[in-house]
Symmetry: C2
Subunit: 335 residues, 2 copies
Amino acid sequence: MPELRKDPIIDNWVIISTERSKRPLDFKVKAEEKRKDNCVFCKGNEHKTPPEKFAFREKGTLKDNPGWKVRVIANKYPALKMEGKAAREKVGLFEKMDGIGVHEVIIETPYHHEDLNSLSITNIILILKTYRQRYLSIFEDKRIKYILIFKNYGIDGGASLEHSHSQLIATTIIPKRIEEELKGSRKYFSSVKRCIFCDYINQEIQYKDRVIEETEKYIALSPFAARFPFETWILPKYHSAYYEEINDDEIFDLAKMMKEILFRIKNKLNNPPYNFIIHTAPSKKSSTKEWPDLDKKYHWHIEIIPRLTKIAGFEWGTGFYINPTSPEQAAKILR
Amino acid sequence: MPELRKDPIIDNWVIISTERSKRPLDFKVKAEEKRKDNCVFCKGNEHKTPPEKFAFREKGTLKDNPGWKVRVIANKYPALKMEGKAAREKVGLFEKMDGIGVHEVIIETPYHHEDLNSLSITNIILILKTYRQRYLSIFEDKRIKYILIFKNYGIDGGASLEHSHSQLIATTIIPKRIEEELKGSRKYFSSVKRCIFCDYINQEIQYKDRVIEETEKYIALSPFAARFPFETWILPKYHSAYYEEINDDEIFDLAKMMKEILFRIKNKLNNPPYNFIIHTAPSKKSSTKEWPDLDKKYHWHIEIIPRLTKIAGFEWGTGFYINPTSPEQAAKILR
């Protein structure tokens, strides 16, 4: 049973995932898993994965069979599981609870050779719609407080399978950095009655030197205090706290922006590993009491982190980052 | 001029280190820098490094010449510099200041083939004494609030040079994670009037299953909410907030513990890259007003993180970690 454990000193939760338990020599990535010829995510190998939870597929095709364009399955080695009780248990100084949650894989294409940034806009739209569907569907469960959708691209980006995919983790707690954003947004709102992200975007549009790209509805920029070289945020220029409220027009515009930015990162930075994470508000159903009026205060966005530097002990251990590329320089190169 | 920039949303400082400014294609580690035959840290190449700031050396030998056992130099590409003003500057939502600070390299041995965990206890003692001397010396400058001493071992640990060394970064701000520890310790102390680390250690000694090793004065354990597989903390069993107050007896005991734990990590985990970081209290001279009575509340320690897993986007972006090895299992293997 996976466990959530809280560090008693800094009050942060960690997933201890015993299902994925590893002995020292198991840590090397198994090379055979990455080979194309036995890839379980490829079209035709649907029976080799856990059953399908959702898919966009051609009319008349059957679940767990070819014909899909985007396919969602449970992670074979889930970090969290839906069984168990959400109650916290105290042992002296320590606090833990069952690791309740969902861990899914979103297979972005049936074809092994395709990448998110080589896919057509039509395909990217289906992926972004799949994200929306998963938020809406999983938030039905009131135990779930947060859903995190993210992508690891490349071995050094943390991907253990080469086939283009993103992941979803739904949990009973709000991840630390998101909570910090919620607190920061709340503090700003209570002082000036405006969304801090909206003000941030307006200021950046005015200064221009950290703006990478604008579409009708979205902006891509290098954040002022970027932690990583070429860190890029994509934000809606309209105010919205919840990714799941995105409409089809907005998805079309976002798909164009995503394709363009990922293409530039691949092209101008020599195809680096990268991660992106959707930062969105926690569940309306289960977090409104603790976080009232987030619809006014928070602003969903996507953070993209190319993995160009080895993150060193300094950064890991302290949360204090050294970035060797100024955001202004990064924006200039990606523009 | 390096800059410290604050993220306006989550209130976290980042170093934008323009001195180390890199263009996209400069990010690959230069292989020639790692070769033994032109290593600038080796005995005999002292003239190829910035001048010596401190050293333990044989009697009668000269600064910036052979004869040293541990040698401290300025980092050739410092992330921070001592020139500039500590005043904060506001630009709209954003806040920044000059990147004032110190960035040093502690060369742990004159010999290229030696490792921290193959060095004799006598040598490790000199390294630990060097750390103490640097804390004491650099804290004389009242602009400095925090000194961080850490080691990156192995390319994947973030080391750009193979020759055994640790690093020191002194800054005008307290790094985020340290500040969180200070807050957590303060909160606990104000409720029960005891040091949370002392209670933590006592509880672990009682439960035993996460204890890796004990010496007379130190304990090595797997933290209850370990973020990383085989994460290991070394803590003094006696109460002390300030590493720089360590005495020679304690250094002798700590040297034995460090050697033993680093040897086991190398031996049982197949010589992985690792990082360690000394977590100690901020400057007495410049932080007592903001953080009174830390001598009672905080407890210095060393955190060691073997780099066995690729840290994925999920963890980076959220501060929410998935650890595939339970601390109890890790302690059992390292015991």
